[in-house]
Symmetry: D2
Subunit: 351 residues, 4 copies
C-alpha cells in the first residue's frame, strides 16, 4: 500500500482479495503496509489489485509449480530427436554435444535440398532444417511449397538418415507436418499463437520454440509452459534476435537471454545466428559467441546457391562458408568443455 | 554499389538481376554506380543483392500496386459494419463520425454483459466489444468462454441493436465467429498469423486489425494487404501500443503512427487506449489525444465491476468513468470537425 | 526472499542491512519471507541486496521526500519565465494558458531570426526558441553560431519583448547563456549530463528539461530532481520522443508519458512535436494530440526558408503552416478548458 | 523522386541542391528519377531534400573520408596505453593479446583499492579501472570521491605498475584526470556530450569510448569521429549494453554490434559484461561470448567486498569469481587464436 493509503483503501483491497478466496497477511512499518499472500495463479487479480486506490505495487514471486522452471526440475533436460529415424540413435539437445542444425531457409527442389544436405552433412551438421510453410511479411513474397515441400524434406531425411526440423504455422497442419518430420518448429511470429502451441504440445513431437521478436524471457518461458502443460516434455528453446532501435542488423541477438534462460529453465537453449543478424558476415562470430556463452546448439541457414534462394538467401552461408565456420567452431566448443560432431567423409547416395 | 566496388562486382550484380528477369539501368558519378530497376515485387531478391559483394545499399520504392496504399486509392475508405444488424444502418468507420466501441475485455456472463452494454449504450458508444477467445500469456490465466461467450455476445447484439466486434484467434473458428458477430478482430499477437489473416480475409466480414506490439507501420500495412489480397475491402486498423523500454505503461501508445498510417493508407485507423496503457487513469487523456490527432475512433475496455473482471480488469473503466470520458471527448471531437453519437436516454429491454 | 531461501541466507541479508544502519522488520507466510524497511535513499544498497543469495526481489517505494513528486507538493507548480523581459509579465507554464514556443532550430542570422520572429509572433506564439549551441551527431555538421548566435537571439528578445529559451550544452557556458536568455534548455543528449544539470540548477534560471531519448519517466524525473536539489524551483519538462524500432518517424512521441508525468509530478510538461517526429506533416496532428492529452504547451520548429535551414530544416514548419496549425490548435485547447494567446495584428519594429 | 513526382518538383529539388553548390546528375527509368551527387558532408541538406515535395527517399553513402572508417584505414589500429607508466611497455588494444581491464566501479579507499588491485593482478588483469567521478541517475546516490578518488587510483597505478582508466564527466576535469590516469573513459551517458568529446580528443590521451545506451553503431562511430577529428588517434570502443524492452537484464548486451563495428572501423572494440547485464551470474558467460566473437578485450567490475560497495556492487565479481572467470576465459581466447596474460604469482608491495 502507498504511504498515504487510507484505512478504507486497505480494507477495500483486503475485501477484494477475500472475495477471490485469498486471505492476505498484513505487516506495517512506519506508514507502509505490506500484504502477503500465497500465490494464487491469477495474474488478472494482481493487475486489478495494482490499480486499486492506495496500492503502490503488486509483486509476484513465480512459484515452483511451473513445469519449465528449475524450481520444478533442477537438472538439465535432455531432448532426443529422431531416435527412430537415424542410425545413431537420434540427436540429443542439452547434453555434452553441441548440436548444429543446418539447411536452407525454404525447401525449393530436390536438387537444392540434396546439394544443401550434402554440404551440411559433410561439414558435421547433425540435423537438417528446411521450411515448407513460410510466414512472410508480404503476401507477394514466396510462401513456401507447403505439402510438396514436406515431401522433399522427408526425402532428404531418408537419404541422409538425419532428423529434420520444419516449421508448422497453423493447427490444422500439425498432424501432417508431424508425420514427415522429427521436430516441429514454432516460429517467432507464432510464439504467442496459443492455439498452435496447444496443438503442437498435444502432438507428442519434440518442439523447437523460437523466441518472439519482442518477447521477454518470461513470456518465452510461458509459451514453453503452454507446450509442457499439454503434455510435451521435449521442448528446445531458440533465441533468434529481438527488435531494437539499431538498423545495422535485422534483429539484435540477445545472448544474455540464452545464459539467463539456461539459469531459469531446465530446457535446452539454442541460437539462430542467421535470422537474428540477417547478415552472412555476422553468422560466424555470433555462432562462436553462442557456443562460448553456454548455448546447447545452433540452427544455421545454408544454401549452396544463395544468389537464387527463394527466401532469405541474403543471410545464408554457402557450403564453403559453412564448412569454414564449423572448423572455427570446434575449438571454441571444446574450450567450454563440450563436443562437436566430426565432418563426415563418405558421400551420400543420390535420390 | 560501394565507391570501391570492382567492375567484376558490378557485372556480377547485373548478371544476378538479369538471372531473375530484371534488366537494370546503370548510372555512374565519380566512383559511385547506381543501378535502377522497375519494382519486381521480390523482397528476397533485394536482400540477396544487398548482401552481394560491392553493394552498398538497396532502396525499395513501394509501388502503386498495393491495395492498402493511397497510391492505389487516394480517397478515404469508409467501412460500414453491421448494416443488417442495427436499425441505424450500421456503424461507419472513416467518415464524419468518430466511432466509439466499448465493452468488457472478456465476455463472462449475461449479467456482466447486460450491465456493460447498458452503461456503454447510455454513454454513446455505437458498437460493442467483448472477447470470447482470449489469447493469454500464461496457460494458467482465464482463456475466455469460447463458443458460450459468443452466444452471450450475440445476445447483447440482438438486445441492443448494436454491431459487435470480437476476436478470432485461429482459422478453424472464423466461420462460427463470423456468424455471431459483425466484425472480426485480429489481435496484436496474431497480426502476423498469416493463415488466420487469409481465413479472415476470405470470410467477407469487416476486420479490425490490431497492430503487432513490435510491428513497424510497414509490417502493419502488409498484414492489411494480406486481408485485402484475399478479397476483403473492409479493414479498419487499430493502434494499440508498442513495446518500449519504459515500464511506466504496459505498452507505449504510438499516436504518430496513427497520423502516419492515415497518410499512407486509405483505410480507417482507430486507437485502443486501454490495452496500450494498461492503466485506467491514462485512458481518458489518450482517448482525447487520439481524437485530436485524426484517429477515426476508439475501442475502450468498460466493465461495471472491474474488481471482479476475469481479464484485464485492471485497465477497464467503470460505467461512470466511461460516461465522464465521453463527456470530455465530445468537445475535442467537435474541435477537429467531427461528430460523436449522443448518449441515449431510453432504457434497453432486459434479456 | 525466495521460497527456497535458507535461514542462513535470510540472516546474511539482515546482517548486510544492519551493517548499513537499516533494521528490517520481517514477515513470513508459507515459505516466503518479506523484509520491510523504511526507505534509506541508497539505490546501491538495494541492488546489492537484490543480488544476494536467496533474495527474490527488492521493491523500492519512492518516498515523499522527492522535490519533484506530487507527494511533496500536491498542487501544480506554475513556472513564470521572463517576467522582467516582457511587458505582459512573463510567460506562465502550468497555468490556464497553453504556451506555444516557436522559432528556428538554429540561430543563423538577423534576417532569418527576424523573419521567424515576425511569423511566430503574428500567429500567437508567446515565446521564442533558437539554438546557438547545437549538439550534432556528426562533427561535420553545422554546430551553431555560439556566442554570436546568443547575441542574435537577444536581439529578437529585445525587439519582440518575448522571452527566449536556448540550449546550453556545457557547464562553462551556463553563465553567458543565462545572461542572454530567459530560460535554459537541457537537450535530450544531456539529460544525464549531471555536471551540466548541477550548473544549470545553480544558476537560478528557469529550465526546460528535455527527456532523454531513452530515458524512463523515472530517470527523467530524477534529472529534474538534480535541478531542484540545486535550488531551482522553475523546471518545465519536455517530452520529445523516444527511441523505438520503427524507422517511420525519427523518434516515437510518447504522449502517455506526458499524462503519466503530470500525475507523478507537480511540474509543467510540454511537448516537442518537431524533433520527435522529424516530419513536418506530423507536427500538426501531434500538436493537437498534445494539447488534448493535458500537456501545458508546445515547442515548435519554425523557419521561414526551411529549404535553406542550417539545421533540422527538414522538420520545420513554414510561416503559413505554423499559422494554420495555430488556427487548428485553438479549438482543441479550448475544448480541454484552456486558453491560447491570440495572433497579434500589429507589426514588430525592425532591428 | 516518387513515381508521381511532377517535373516542377524535380526542378525544385535540383534548384535546391544547386543553391547549396551541389550539381546533381539525374537518371530516369520508367517513372522514377534518381538524382546522384557526390557526398557533400551536410546531413542537414539531405534531410531538407528528403522532406521536399516529390522526393521518395535520400540515401547517403558514407564516404571514405571518415577517420574511423576501414575505407580510410584498412588495417586494425593498435592502441597502446601506459607505455610510460609500466615496465612492460604498456597495454596494447587491437593486437594479438586479449586485454582484460578490471577493478571496482567506484574508488572508495586505499584498503578497497589495494584489495581489488591485488585480486585482479593475481588473476591476470593487465589494466586497472576505478571511478572517481560517477554519473548517477539519482542526486541522492554516491557520486564518487572526485579528486581524492583520483589520488587513490594513482596510488595503485604506481604500486602495481599497471595503467589505469577512469571516467571523466565534464570538460573542466579533463586536464586533472589526464594527469592521474593513462586512459580517459567517456561513459555511456556522455557519448554525445560533444564538448566533452572535444576536450578529451584534444587532450592527447587514449580514450575508452562507451557506446550510448541507445546509440546506433553509426552514432557511436560518429562520436569516435569527434575524438579523432580533434587529433586523437588512440580510441578504443566499448560495447556496454543497449536499452530494450526486457527487464531481465539491466541492459541488452549487443555482441553483434561488436562484430559489426570491427568490420566498419579499424579501431579496437572491447566489451563491458558487468554494466550491460547488471547481474554477476551473467558476467562470465558474456565474457566468454565476447572473446569468441572477436572483441579485443573486456572491462570488468571487481570488488573484494561487493556487499559493501558504494556503487553498483550488485554486479561486481568477487576475487575468487574473477579468478575463476579468467581461468575459463583462457581456453576460449586461445581457441580464437589470441593470447591472455598469465596470472601473476608474486605479491605486490603494500602502499
Amino acid at each position: 500500500m502507498r504511504s498515504r493509503a487510507t484505512r478504507e483503501q486497505l480494507d477495500s483491497v483486503i475485501r477484494l482479495l477475500q472475495g477471490h478466496g485469498v486471505d492476505p497477511k498484513s505487516s506495517t512499518l512506519a506508514d507502509i503496509t505490506v500484504l502477503i499472500t500465497e500465490e494464487v495463479g491469477t495474474p488478472d487479480l494482481a493487475a486489478v489489485v495494482e490499480n486499486s486506490p492506495g496500492v503502490e505495487r503488486v509483486v509476484i514471486i513465480p512459484g515452483a509449480q511451473r513445469l519449465t522452471s528449475r524450481h520444478f526440475r533442477a537438472d538439465a533436460t535432455e531432448v532426443t530427436v529422431g531416435s527412430e529415424a537415424g542410425s545413431a540413435g537420434g540427436t540429443v539437445f542439452g547434453g555434452t554435444e553441441f548440436v548444429v542444425i543446418a539447411g536452407p531457409c525454404a525447401v525449393e527442389s530436390t536438387t537444392q535440398m540434396s546439394a544443401a544436405a550434402d554440404a551440411v552433412v559433410a561439414a558435421g551438421a547433425v540435423m537438417l532444417r528446411g521450411g515448407a510453410f513460410k510466414p512472410r511479411t508480404s503476401p507477394y513474397s514466396f510462401q513456401g511449397l507447403g505439402l510438396a515441400g514436406l515431401a522433399l524434406l522427408a526425402e532428404q531425411r531418408k537419404r541422409t538418415g538425419l532428423p529434420v526440423v520444419t516449421e508448422v504455422v497453423t493447427p490444422s497442419d500439425v498432424e501432417s507436418v508431424a508425420e514427415e518430420s522429427d521436430m516441429l518448429q514454432i516460429g517467432t511470429r507464432n510464439m504467442q499463437n496459443f492455439d498452435l502451441l496447444r496443438a503442437v504440445g498435444a502432438s507428442g513431437r519434440p518442439v523447437l520454440l523460437k523466441r518472439g521478436m519482442s518477447a521477454t524471457i518470461e513470456e518465452w518461458l510461458l509459451a514453453a509452459e503452454y507446450l509442457m502443460h499439454m503434455g510435451t516434455r521435449d521442448v528446445v528453446l531458440c533465441e533468434r534476435g529481438i527488435r531494437s532501435f539499431d538498423p545495422s542488423t535485422r534483429f539484435t541477438l540477445d545472448l544474455s537471454a540464452v545464459a539467463e534462460a539456461k539459469r531459469l529453465t531446465h530446457l535446452p537453449v539454442i541460437v539462430d545466428p542467421s535470422h537474428s543478424t540477417g547478415r552472412p558476415h555476422l553468422v560466424a562470430p555470433m555462432s562462436l559467441a553462442a557456443a562460448a556463452c553456454g548455448a546447447d546448439g545452433l540452427i544455421i541457414d545454408v544454401h549452396t546457391d544463395a544468389g537464387h534462394a527463394m527466401c532469405d538467401g541474403a543471410q545464408a552461408l554457402g557450403a564453403e562458408q559453412f564448412s569454414t565456420l564449423m572448423g572455427r567452431l570446434r575449438p571454441v566448443v571444446e574450450a567450454v568443455g563440450r563436443t562437436l560432431s566430426p565432418p563426415r567423409s563418405h558421400s551420400l547416395a543420390q535420390v
